[in-house]
């Protein structure tokens, strides 16, 4: 029983981590319809910034939020402005390859600057174990879990209650109609891409004290992030959160009962089943076909 509780706790913490990383990806995809393959590398860049700030200035890793989030926002916005927007009238594949190219460039840039070794952000007490009875989790993991809830709720409020949020949703629903209503569509895209990347900035700040950064760290997380985004229903933020928790739990239980080499079979098996029975994902709306309109 204790073991089951511990596995559940581990699964939920892992789910929170996956949610944290996936939220930005689903936001960008849901609105701009661009599949950002450089998402993991945004995370990697964020983690290196956290590493540099904490080791150079000696501050608590969370303090670097103030710099990492704006930095990632700018990075995302520039990606949209300088790369994606220029390809707006090209084939979707071209946009995908542009982000793949960006991903490869960023990985190799990190290799050039930091080398292949790991860069370890001081954990500043965030690897401290807390818990009830024999069930324990790390404080840093708890922070990630609750922050992911706050982030999801915050984004939801932003999208439903504010003017820019409404403009973003209008653009997602129908690009042409939104433009007719006087919305500056390309500015909305830049804003959304920046916002999605800023979410990755939050994730990077919280993840860095728990995982050492390396040039390829993004690739470790990004595959699961894509699974979460698709399973949750492309573009659905709540869906991504629920899907992340499901994947986290499946990962933890399968890892214990089936073994670590087989856990991905369980994760991707469930993913396949969801796609077969609910092709638009757990929370995917069928109406969302705006990308076919010009």
């Amino acid at each position: 029983m204790e073991t089951v509780l511990q596995i559940t706790a581990n699964g939920l913490m892992l789910g929170g981590l996956y949610a944290m990383i996936s939220v930005g990806l689903t936001l960008i995809f849901g609105i701009t319809r661009v599949i950002n393959f450089a998402h993991g590398e945004f995370l990697m860049v964020g983690m290196y910034i956290v590493y540099l700030i904490t080791t150079q200035l000696g501050v608590h890793p969370y303090a670097s939020l103030l710099l990492v989030v704006p930095a990632l926002f700018v990075m995302g916005a520039l990606t949209q402005k300088l790369v994606i927007e220029r390809l707006r009238n090209s084939d979707e594949h071209v946009q995908i390859f542009a982000t793949v190219g960006l991903s490869i460039a960023l990985i190799n840039l990190a290799l050039l600057i930091f080398g292949a070794d790991i860069a370890n952000t001081p954990s500043s007490g965030l690897r401290h174990s807390v818990g009830v009875g024999t069930v324990g989790v790390l404080t840093g993991q708890l922070v990630i879990f609750f922050s992911s809830i706050v982030l999801v709720v915050g984004l939801h409020l932003l999208l439903t209650r504010t003017r820019p949020g409404r403009a973003i949703r209008a653009t997602a629903q129908n690009r042409a109609a939104a433009r007719l209503m006087g919305i500056n569509v390309s500015r909305v895209y830049v804003l959304t891409f920046g916002l999605g990347a800023a979410c990755v900035g939050v994730a990077a700040t919280l993840v860095a004290p728990l995982y050492p950064a390396s040039p390829t760290i993004g690739t470790y997380f990004v595959l699961i992030a894509f699974v979460v985004v698709v399973m949750g229903g492309l573009g659905s933020i709540t869906g991504a959160f629920i899907a992340a928790l499901v994947i986290g739990l499946v990962d933890a239980f399968a890892g214990y009962y089936l073994g670590s080499d087989l856990k991905e079979v369980a994760v991707f098996g469930i993913f396949l089943l969801v796609l077969i029975f609910r092709p638009s994902g757990l929370f995917g709306a069928r109406r969302n076909l705006s990308h076919v309109s010009p």
Binding site: I118, L138, S214, T219, F221, S260
Partner: protein, 407 residues
Amino acid sequence: MSKSRSMFRYAAIGLTSALALGAGAGAAHAEVKFGALYPFSGQLALLGEESARGLELAVDQINSEGGVQGEQVTLVKGDAVDNNQAIGEARRLIAREGVKAIFGTYSSSRSIAASQVAELSRIPYFELGAVAEKVTGRDLAYLYRTNPTAKDMARTIVDMIVESVAPELDKDPEELRIGIIHEDSSYGSSVAEFENKYAEEAGLNVVAEQAYPASTVDMSSIVLRLKEKNVDVVLQTSYQNDSVLFLRQADEENYDPKAIIGGGGGYSMEPTAEAVGADVIEGVLDADFTQYNVNPEFAPGVKEFVEDYKAKYDSAPRSGHSLNNYAGAMALLHAIDDADGFGPDEIREAVDAIDIPMGETAAGYGVKFGENNQNTRAKMMGMQWQDGELVTVFPEEAAVSELKLQD
């Protein structure tokens, strides 16, 4: 008429022989070229370059001793960024640069690819650092390997458990419950396979085995499983990310096995110790290439090597790769010095004759090529993290400190 013609002929012969002599004298001053094929850029650049430095230092030393067969050695670098480029660079070194032999390669897959090119051109290929079993044993006549392999790593780990770990814990080796975990690429899988094999031969009790992908971000379920099965000795073969993850998560879930033994990779690297903290890594064991904290009587020349390294590169060696490349290259270059020329078969003959006993190279192990041209005397060393440093503890003659385990 005929006389003057024959005079002319003699003059011509004299002239050509003078030219030939001149050319011969020129050749004596000329240099002999060897290829240095390593990944100098890309993902593997760090340890690829570190490996190449060992070869460079060996060549410097040989040249200062008068070169090989009286000729100065020039190294021509080839950058083996990936398998395809390894092949391309091997071709360039052989065809355009005219190297007499190639030294390399650190990466097993690059070595396997490039050595086939060399074999076709009948150019000796000397592998000084790639550990995969598959590098040798492909019926290549001109491929030799000086360094120990995945098999030797497993051998050292099992020997260390039987001869040192069990006595230190006051237990019979059979009593210990052993768990093997490894990343699931060919590196981790092949070491684990040999660990299983030798453990069985030694009568050890392996109670758990678990593979996992190296890109894993959570190992808590592995820790839980090892805990449930009361594993006393954990053997992990891993890269850096997963070494850090396992050591941290085991610590955080209060899993405290009697011994943890790593198989090189992340376990030999300073950043791993920094990441998990000195108290967590304290006492962790590791089997790998010979490192610098080794008994200099067993590894004569290791101190001088470190001095030369610092003088040339202005930093301390970053890993044991350079030392092992250096030791292998020294043995080979001395042999080539004794050969009757630089033809592939003369070099082979000289290299086949190498017979250096244990404890007479800077890496400690001896050199004698056996089946498949693998160095039969190559050995991995057993090391332990003590007070933040990786020190050699096994075998006894190489040790600088005693193997200590708390219980």
